[in-house]
């Protein structure tokens, strides 16, 4: 025992190159995984905070039934240490300055907003300010357009119902000025305590009470648990993630980070596996010697196990020492671009995956070859024994692969991700086996000569086992890196496509049928043509196959669409960005049937042929489901759950028209002329929301780039580790070749060519496998479409060939700089 302990010393280990490589691999593994996980958790907090401001809170409870919620619900929230706030929204006519105007009022309590800021101006020419409270009692803030429409000035009086309030500011932007069709008319914001005295809210008025909650995630969650059974169908609990326009983008960003982290885990495992196998090989003589000195197999096992534990600790500590400052750097970079910085928070839970990665890669990948050292015969001291055939390593490899993919699964929680990567990897190994066979048969015929090409090919053949395993590792590394690059590219492209510069940023609602042409003409003249115009009829879905719909649908599903009026439309052709996934779009002369949006259809359990009954005013219409289609909710164009064919039952009912269009900031004043000319048309301005989304997307893009860079650096380190694993053999060979009369240029050229071929093949295999993995990932995780990525298929093999041939050149450096004599002495 004492002897074993004395044989162990980190300092002595450190002198061995292979140990340094194992430790470097471990440090990088822990550092990369920890940095990504820490950063992902920080990003999550940042996004949740930014996103929360879209609700002006962490959660909202909406009561659409026109009645406030019981006081006890709010007391319960207080008791759970949640902040609360309230607001009331209703439409009414206001009088002031030159006339009347229908407005949408939002009356807020003192606490509003719990999250985010309100942007206001104290006059039309004053600077914009961000404030964290609404107007004081007795005052109102109004939309600048209303100021112009009513020809008011700051300080004037505005009559809301029976109450005269003072216009004290201009409301530019409210944090929760969301994308709601109820907010059609110009906005007036007032204090909640003034509502009663206006007398506007009577029994039966259309009023929406909204309650705001903010606090610890766990408290919010437990409060919701408490609240859920008490909710009525007209109550809607909204979190950040529920269907907001931008949440899909954010979800994908999070998934990207998960993918990045998973790839880091895999890369780390590869690096540790390669380095420790090399270490084990180099230790065989030492082990044989220790055995002759009297240490038995079990003692050897203990010795190396303890060494492994020591490395694990060193690797974890070292990795964290790198990760934590790096994380601070990244997080503060992100924080700098935020409108409202988020505290940097070091989430201890985020360190777990990194530490687990170190443990799993040490014990699943490093331990098996080291454990086999116990079996090294003492005889080896006297006479070198044939090396490991590699066959006994297969079961261990299998265990290790299961372990590491289990870890990825645990980390990412996405079976699809694990399977996609495994699939890509399997494809890679299969192609590699094929390639190996091809390589052996094709190269066997090549004979060496003074020619660098032939020498390179002969080299590949001679080292075919090493070459193939190097290709395997390079290809795997490249596959992982390429997967990330491809997913990133498609992610960014999707975002770009989703929110192009000229994405529609204004909606026109409530256009009377006989003014449709005039409205279109007006914007045509402004040079800002409208998107497609759709008729819109509001109605409720009341029956499903003759049964009341709330009974037909299972109770535990709370479906918002059933609680409120739906926007129904009729259209002749399918919108470009919709896609039929079941059934058929209306044929030309068909006038019956209804096309249902896919997610709603799924939640209601609708099938083709189900009969849906809609109640519109006093009318009822019943139509069979003839198609199910997907909708791009974030397209900034009008979207509909239910579409009918033209000339059908819907067309006879009173409809208004809706559309959207892009209006650049410098043309915003055209809205004034428009409002005067078409006073009944409502304009919904969402340009600031789009601005926010674009800002967030930009921040996330930066983060993604940083993480991509980190992963690529890790990949480069893995490749360096692999190349340097054969360093000694290559240098010995180089030295001998020089002694035997190989010219330096020949040596350099053939080595670089050999590595270039290696790199080219590995790059090609890696890219193909990456395409396969991306193909799978794209469908399961990122909802994008797949196409071949020529922009990587060509350059990655080329880059990999160049990088590897440079690695090869770098390896030869010590062989070239000194005389062959000295080389031979070193080899002795």
């Amino acid at each position: 025992m004492a002897a074993e302990q004395k044989l162990m010393s980190v300092r002595r280990d450190w002198r061995e190159r292979d140990v340094r490589v194992v430790l470097a691999a471990l440090v990088i593994a822990v550092a990369t995984v920890a940095t990504i996980a820490l950063f992902a958790s920080q990003l999550q907090r940042t996004l949740v905070t930014s996103a929360s401001s879209f609700l002006a809170a962490d959660r909202q409870l909406e009561a659409e039934n026109g009645r406030p919620i019981p006081d006890t619900w709010l007391q319960e929230a207080d008791a759970r240490n949640l902040e609360t706030g309230q607001m009331v929204e209703f439409s009414t006519m206001v009088f002031g300055g030159g006339g009347f105007q229908l407005v949408s009022v939002k009356a807020v309590s003192n606490e509003y907003p719990l999250r985010g800021e309100i942007e206001v101006q104290s006059g039309p020419d004053s600077p914009r300010e961000l404030v964290q409270t609404g107007p004081k009692p007795g005052e109102v803030w109004i939309n600048p357009r209303l100021l112009r429409l009513l020809e008011l000035e700051i300080g004037d009086a505005l009559e809301v119902g029976n109450r005269e309030l003072t216009v004290s500011g201009l409301l530019i932007r409210e944090p929760d000025g969301g994308f709601r069709l109820s907010a059609l008319a110009p906005r007036v914001m007032m204090h909640q305590s003034d509502v009663e005295s206006t007398g506007v809210i009577q029994e039966g008025s259309r009023v929406e009470y909204v309650y705001l909650f903010a606090g610890e995630e766990s408290s919010l969650e437990s409060y919701y648990q408490w609240l859920q059974p008490r909710l009525e169908p007209s109550h809607e609990w909204e979190g950040v993630r529920d269907g907001e326009t931008f949440s899909r983008s954010l979800e994908r960003a999070e998934r990207f980070l998960l993918l990045g982290g998973s790839l880091a885990v895999l890369l780390a495992a590869v690096a540790v596996a390669v380095a420790s196998r090399q270490y084990a090989l180099s230790q065989r003589d030492t082990v044989a010697l220790l055995k002759t000195l009297g240490l038995n197999g079990a003692g050897i096992g203990r010795l190396y196990l303890r060494r492994l534990v020591l490395w694990g600790i060193t690797g974890m500590v070292g990795g964290l020492l790198v990760a934590i400052p790096l994380f601070w750097l990244l997080a503060s970079m992100l924080s700098d671009v935020l409108e409202r910085p988020v505290d940097i928070h070091l989430d201890p839970a985020a360190l777990m995956p990194a530490l687990l990665t170190a443990l799993v890669s040490l014990f699943a990948f490093a331990y098996p070859p080291i454990r086999r050292l116990r079996n090294v015969p003492a005889m080896r001291v006297l006479r070198s024994q044939p090396g490991e055939s590699g066959r006994e390593a297969w079961p261990d490899m299998l265990v290790a692969i299961v372990a590491i993919f289990g870890l990825v699964w645990l980390y990412a929680g996405e079976l699809a991700l694990v399977l996609s990567l495994l699939g890509g990897l399997a494809l890679l190994l299969a192609s590699l086996a094929l390639l190996g066979w091809g390589l052996v048969t094709a190269l066997r015929r090549i004979r060496g000569g003074g020619n660098a090409w032939r020498l390179a090919l002969v080299g590949l053949y001679r080292h075919r086992n090493a070459s193939l395993s190097q290709i395997a590792v390079f290809a795997m590394t490249l596959m992982l890196a390429a997967t990330l690059v491809l997913v990133r590219t498609s992610l960014l492209n999707d975002w770009q496509a989703q929110l192009p510069e000229d994405a529609p940023n204004h909606f026109l609602i409530n256009i009377a049928p006989d003014t449709v042409d005039e409205v279109a003409g007006f914007w045509e003249q402004q040079g800002q043509p409208l998107e497609e115009l759709y008729p819109m009829v509001r109605g409720r879905l009341t029956e499903l196959n003759g049964e009341p719909v709330k009974e037909a649908v299972s109770k535990d599903e709370r479906i918002g669409a059933l609680n409120r009026e739906l926007n129904l439309t009729w259209m002749a052709s399918l919108p470009e960005d919709n896609e039929i996934i079941d059934g058929q779009w209306f044929a030309d002369s068909v006038q019956t049937g209804v096309s249902v949006e896919a997610e709603l259809a799924e939640r209601l359990g609708l099938k083709l042929g189900d009969r849906l009954t809609f109640t519109i005013g006093s009318e009822k219409i019943t139509e069979p489901v003839t198609s199910i289609r997907t909708v791009q909710w974030d397209s900034m164009k009008p979207n509909f759950y239910m579409a009918f064919p033209p000339g059908g039952a819907l067309e006879g009912l009173p409809a208004t028209w809706i559309t959207s269009f892009y209006l650049p900031p410098q043309k915003k004043t055209a809205l004034n002329a428009f409002s005067r000319q078409f006073p009944t048309v409502s304009v919904l301005e969402i340009d600031h929301i789009i601005g926010r989304i674009q800002e967030i997307v930009q921040q996330v893009t930066r983060a993604i780039e940083a993480i991509l860079a980190l992963i690529l650096a890790a990949a480069l380190v893995v490749m360096a580790a692999v190349v340097s694993a054969t360093l000694r053999d290559r240098q010995r060979e180089g030295a001998l070749l020089r002694t035997l009369g190989g010219r330096q240029t020949l040596l350099v050229r053939s080595t670089m060519l050999e590595f270039a071929v290696l790199g080219g093949f590995a790059g090609f295999l890696g890219v193909v496998a990456a395409e396969a993995a991306v193909y799978a990932l794209q469908f399961r995780m990122f909802e994008g479409s797949f196409s071949w990525h020529w922009q990587v298929i060509v350059p990655i093999p080329v880059i990999s060939a160049i990088v590897l041939s440079l690695f090869g050149r770098w390896q030869l450096r010590p062989v070239l700089s000194v005389s062959p004599m000295l080389l031979l002495r070193r080899l002795e």
């Binding site: 044939p386 004979r447 020498l455 001998l736 070749l737 035997l740 010219r743 020949l746 002495r825």
Partner: protein
């Protein structure tokens, strides 16, 4: 086979000529003089033994004579070329075409088979059918059955026989051997040195050999003694004993 004899040795320059060779290496604190004013001439077809204690500078001298390194002072001529004036690539070309080596520690490449190890110098020198010639040589050294074995699968004596086959592969005019039997037991060493001498005679190669082995040294036509970097030729022997 290239039966090379040198009936006109007197008219030709010597195979090897070293003049005032001095070799120093710079150490951390001072410089170490390994060789001091060595003069030496070796004719074509001669076999020469260099004997001396461990650390006396034998390997260093051999390396300088073979052009593996350049001397600090003095010059070396090999087959008419002044190697101390050649560039690294020209010396490499000279080694590829004229020189063969046998090392004490064999220096076979572990990843290559016996056949591939022997083919290596042939490929470097651009021989037409390297495999055929390598086969022949391996058969000649008695390893015709072990062509596909890697060095790990061969005993020390067998490895050294592969190394000898490799040394003669590219038809060298001069062969340098650094304690070729130093890592082998007596019997095996004996067999290996028999093989070396026999091949040397068949090929008409000039042999320069460093050895501890008095017996082996005695089989050479001349012997040099080296002590503390200084060379002496104690006696000129007549015909080598066989």
């Amino acid at each position: 086979m290239n039966q090379m004899t040198n009936p006109t040795a007197e008219n030709q320059p010597p195979m090897l000529r070293a003049q005032d060779l001095t070799h120093r290496v710079r150490l951390e604190t001072d410089t170490l003089t390994i060789l001091q004013g060595v003069n030496l001439e070796i004719n074509r077809g001669e076999s020469v033994a260099i004997v001396g204690r461990s650390g006396s500078g034998k390997t260093t001298l051999l390396g300088l004579l073979a052009g593996l390194d350049t001397p600090t002072e003095g010059s070396v001529e090999l087959d008419g070329a002044t190697i101390s004036q050649l560039g690294e690539d020209e010396r490499a070309r000279l080694r590829a075409s004229r020189v063969g080596f046998v090392f004490q520690s064999f220096q076979l490449l572990p990843a290559l088979t016996a056949l591939e190890n022997v083919m290596l110098p042939l490929e470097l020198a651009g021989f037409e059918e390297p495999e055929k010639r390598a086969r022949e040589l391996l058969e000649r050294v008695g390893l015709g059955e072990r062509l596909t074995h890697t060095p790990r699968q061969l005993s020390g004596g067998e490895q050294q026989r592969v190394a000898i086959a490799r040394a003669f592969a590219s038809d060298p005019v001069v062969l340098f051997a650094d304690e070729p039997t130093g890592n082998l037991d007596n019997r095996t060493g004996q067999a290996v040195s028999d093989l070396l001498m026999a091949l040397n005679r068949e090929q008409g190669t000039t042999l320069v050999m460093v050895t501890h082995d008095e017996h082996l040294a005695a089989r050479c036509s001349r012997q040099f003694h080296i002590e503390a970097g200084q060379l002496t030729e104690p006696e000129a022997l007549g015909e080598p004993v066989s």
